[in-house]
Symmetry: C2
């Protein structure tokens, strides 16, 4: 039976939840396929996550390996293939709680960086799991700056081998997933030396464990890097190499080859490599970033209509906490952001697909724009969504702090997305470098990529809004965002030029502008996200109430961004103080409007109870029963040796009749 | 040997680190006592925290109990008493990693709420550990709103007993520390019923476990609530009561008594009760909030001068990451906040001591101000410091995400401080209620408490700064903060009045203003923190470079607050856009200045390596060695059954020669 406080929220939905789910999935047929996958996975007890919050790191790892192995069988049984329409839903259905994800990266890196011969040899072995692969790039002392990697691969002409070494402790490979305990092979990135000359970083396939008994190969030291904030199921590893020899054929050689005599030959274009990073950054947004935020919103919003605390009106029943303005102001902007970035992701995917088609036609023109957008949005979306999950957690008070709410593990996992695949600040600075370059080009009347043509516009003017309702007009707020993005880019470009003209060296000047460059990059991405959301809403079908509620969310997303960052809009007087008060009024009004549909809006995400794995967020809202039942199963409710060892002697030493 | 990159940072300190440590401790003698306590605790292997990051919740609990029991012995050995000067340093030296903290709350509640007779009976029993106490207030369905508690205590005149029940699942006591597995007794808060009439919430001493064998008493169901984000060492518990009878004498009766015939008698003033909450909120700031931020700053800043990544200048060595402006902008404001709030805490302590003396003279006039300040600052400081620890964690990239950095557990622990002892939003609204009341009074020419007299001033005017150096003048920025606090309070008061005058009911009007009321409360606290820091700096001795560096930190704290919240200062034109650009320039300049002293400034916090428990933050900066050595000890480096069970069959099924 559904908690009546939750049930009542569903009766007044202003739109069709099922239609909205289909919109999010990209069509009703996709919804059907997704649900079939979820059903097949969740009905299989091997994939259960029920005990996850009670398990040690060792138990989590073992379960992840068990699931990965079982998944092979399951896919075969179900007739799912890696090219099939079901494939993309499997990972989501497993909530990523599975081993051998780096095995895929191992395969992809061979496909992208290997010669046809290498692909023909290694890919079938990997596909059939005759080996388990990993990807060893990051070192203890080196992350973002690849040129700084210290691992070496010296070519020995006599034996036609590369000799690999991690010469210092900081050169030790550190973090690679699946490498701590599972992998038999890995792709090692190392500085290539031939006849004493360094040719920079190259990838080498290295066997690290025996295929017979899994013992470490000679010269290899490897293990697990120990406990982390999350990812207990992944055996992130370390790897030391001491004179480990691999044959010449093990250097991945699509782009560079070492001939038997030691001649180094570069071939083909490496541009596609940048495209690979772009691919990864875009592909992680949906599963690793949006899904956790959507889950957190589902949990926190359902809980906030079940939880009653204190009174809004004297004499009445305690109020649902979602009826407090402050609670709405915490949660509803996160909900709006989840929708906004879902549509941003669609936009990026489309751009990416277009770029991919061009690249296949050897046209690399779109690469810089794609790189800038994927870098900037990876940073902005991971940052925004991580903050959003934390807000959801804190908005659930004490119960949000219990692992059983599901929120702590969503938070600790999404947090990692701000760090991996490019640290966010560094990514934003890459976007900023692109913006400055395009701004200069546009100012000089040169053509620039479509997403930045607005930089040339450079209108000054004032915001034309006359009353608070004007701020529900997408033109009004989109232009305000555009104005801020132009202002921040142009003023930072001016500062940069001033510094250089005053004699500051280029790299110092750049460093002195980086705080402001980061602001400009964020403003650019925020503008595009708002603009894209508004354009998406424009195109939606008006029936079933979908367009109307999406318009409200778009308005909320835009106004929340202004309300939380008023200075950027007030700075040069584009928005006046009186207009800012209108923004605030419209923003607060919207909270009350969207609050009515809050539960249907999270229901549309269509998470099953198993996938939420939360005592607070279940569809039926039986929060307290679930917390109690679940807690009773905790290993902390087994008898502890602490009583006999410490408590009994303490109490009995001095025991007297009370 | 100290890492040379770290050692070089210490050679150029502009001030005496030892003098600054003494200032933070409140004198060189205090430093000496603190170090002696730390030395005694850390040299005792029972108190070791070395394996903490590898331990399960059960192991952490057991260790905490072991330490708590051992601590009794240790105190006896060392001659430390609860009234002695060493006492306050013990908890800090243990990093709070010890059981029976609620036993103290049990004792304090009896001291405050109990009659002299009750105190005489129970306090000696508790002091001698003839029982282990807890404090059972929060319920599964009820936290902040005490009047909503559902547990009942019905007086039975026939037997002269109270019959206690948790009649619904939401009435179950949930969260009390030490109760899940340890406590034999607890103070239960329940609705008192006599002859069918409810008299509201009262405290009752209830025995829950046998003193002979620790089995649960009849009618009692209790256990541990399971895994949380942190606090694994604490057995937060649940408690169900079914017709549990306690004698009439077990109701704590300093303020209210039930006579044998069922007559209810209220006696004395309960005002002191509010003072107790104030005490707790202020007392947690130092150990639970400031210490974690100071530790996080120490770890992140030391790591940021050891870690080299990428190049600032072409051709040079890779740069220390603290030399990047963006890294400075992440960490140095957190360092400034740690110092700022250290001095705020001194201010609150002094105010509190003054209030305490007044209360002992039966003068309760200071209570409302104390309540408002302790509530507001509890919220503002916990929020600010929690965000600060998270920034430190993220600023250390991947290594910050490893538990071995020490940062994840600092974060997950400090996060709880935003929730316990009053949820932050609710506390800020209490401060706001006080502000609105005082603003109205001040506007009507009535006297108001000292901390809010500024609300009457209501100067409009403009910021007089003419160049960026003017923003290094405490008068200039303190007045700007004051202006914003007045503006937010007065404009929200006006909105509130307008709504009420337009016919909106009082409680609805209040709810519609809460988002802005929270802003006003924060602005008030921020203003006081800035003002107090500036006044503190003014009074410091000028020698040994202390005043100079503290002045820099004060400026940074103030300007960072403006830079991060420009809209509040720009809104009504108090600060112009040109002035805001000066703020930005001064702020960025300051980062480069303070960066030079960053390491000495964290060294002054004087944390030992053991207390930091961090592979990144040690005094010698041997980061990579420590990470590697520590990771090798992880239980994840023991042989996993996953190989034999899953990996071997997978690999061997299809094994062929590679």
């Amino acid at each position: 039976s559904v908690n009546p406080d939750l049930a009542s929220e569903r009766q007044t939905a202003s739109f069709s939840v099922e239609k909205l789910t289909a919109l999010l999935d990209g069509g009703a047929e996709q919804t059907r396929i997704r649900r079939a996958v979820v059903e097949a996975i969740e009905s299989d007890p091997v994939f259960s996550r029920e005990n996850q919050y009670f398990q040690t790191q060792n138990e989590r790892y073992e379960a992840a390996v068990r699931k990965a192995v079982h998944l092979q069988k399951k896919m075969h049984e179900m007739g799912w293939t890696e090219d099939g329409p079901e494939y993309k839903y499997i990972y989501r259905a497993l909530s990523g709680d599975v081993a051998f994800l780096l095995h895929r990266v191992f395969m992809r890196s061979i496909s992208v960086l290997g010669s046809d011969k290498q692909i023909a040899k290694w890919i079938p072995l990997a596909t059939q799991h005759k080996l388990i692969g990993s990807y060893a790039q990051t070192e203890l002392g080196h992350g973002t700056y690849l040129q700084g990697l210290e691992t070496t691969a010296v070519f020995d002409t006599a034996t036609q081998e590369f000799i690999l070494n991690t010469p210092k402790i900081s050169a030790m490979k550190w973090w690679p997933g699946d490498m701590g305990r599972s992998a038999t092979h890995t792709v090692v990135f190392a500085q290539l030396y031939i006849h004493g000359k360094c040719y920079g970083i190259h990838p080498f396939i290295v066997q690290i464990r025996s295929l017979q008994d899994h013992s470490l190969c000679p010269g290899v030291t490897a293990g697990d890097i120990g406990p982390k904030m999350n990812f207990e199921h992944i055996d992130n590893g370390y790897l030391l190499l001491k004179n480990v020899r691999v044959p010449r054929e093990n250097m991945l050689s699509k782009f560079c080859e070492v001939r038997p005599d030691g001649t180094y030959v570069r071939q083909g274009s490496q541009k596609i490599n940048y495209f690979t990073m772009t691919t990864v950054r875009i592909s992680l947004i949906a599963d690793e970033v949006l899904t956790p935020l959507m889950k957190a919103c589902t949990i926190a919003i359902r809980y906030s209509v079940v939880r009653r605390q204190s009174k809004l009106k004297p004499g009445e029943q305690e109020a649902k906490i979602l009826d407090y303005q402050t609670q709405q102001e915490k949660l509803l902007p996160q909900l709006a952001a989840a929708y906004a970035f879902h549509f941003t992701n669609d936009y990026l995917q489309e751009l990416f697909n277009r770029g991919y088609r061009e690249i296949q036609r050897k046209n690399f023109d779109m690469l810089p724009e794609l790189h800038a957008l994927s870098s900037g949005f990876k940073a902005v979306i991971t940052q925004h969504c991580t903050a959003g999950v934390e807000i959801c957690l804190r908005a659930c008070g004490g119960h949000g702090y219990s692992l059983l709410s599901g929120l702590p593990s969503l938070y600790t996992k999404i947090l990692a997305s701000c760090i991996y695949e490019g640290e966010n600040t560094i990514l934003l600075l890459q976007t900023a470098r692109f913006l400055i370059k395009c701004f200069m080009a546009a100012s000089a009347g040169q053509p620039v990529p479509p997403s930045v043509t607005y930089l040339a516009a450079g209108k000054h003017g004032k915001c034309p809004a006359k009353n608070k309702l004007d701020f529900l007009s997408p033109d009004i707020y989109t232009e305000a965002y555009q104005h801020v993005a132009v202002r921040l880019t142009s003023s930072t470009a001016a500062k940069l030029q001033d510094l250089i003209q005053s004699g500051v060296k280029k790299h110092d000047a750049w460093n002195q502008c980086t705080v402001q460059l980061v602001q400009a990059a964020k403003a650019h991405c925020h503008y595009i996200a708002v603009k894209n959301f508004a354009e998406t809403v424009e195109k939606l079908e008006t029936k079933a109430g979908i367009q109307k509620i999406m318009k409200h969310l778009c308005d909320l997303f835009a106004l929340h961004g202004i309300f939380s960052n008023t200075g950027a809009f007030l700075h040069d007087g584009y928005t006046s103080a009186a207009q800012m008060d209108m923004v605030t009024a419209s923003y607060l009004d919207l909270l009350a409007v969207i609050r009515k549909d809050a539960v249907p809006l999270v229901d549309a995400f269509d998470f099953t109870d198993q996938s939420l794995n939360s005592a607070l967020g279940s569809y039926d809202g039986q929060v307290y029963q679930r917390l109690y039942e679940w807690a009773q199963k905790s290993p902390t409710n087994q008898i502890s040796p602490a009583y006999e060892r410490y408590l009994k002697p303490l109490l009995h030493n001095t025991l007297s009749k009370l």
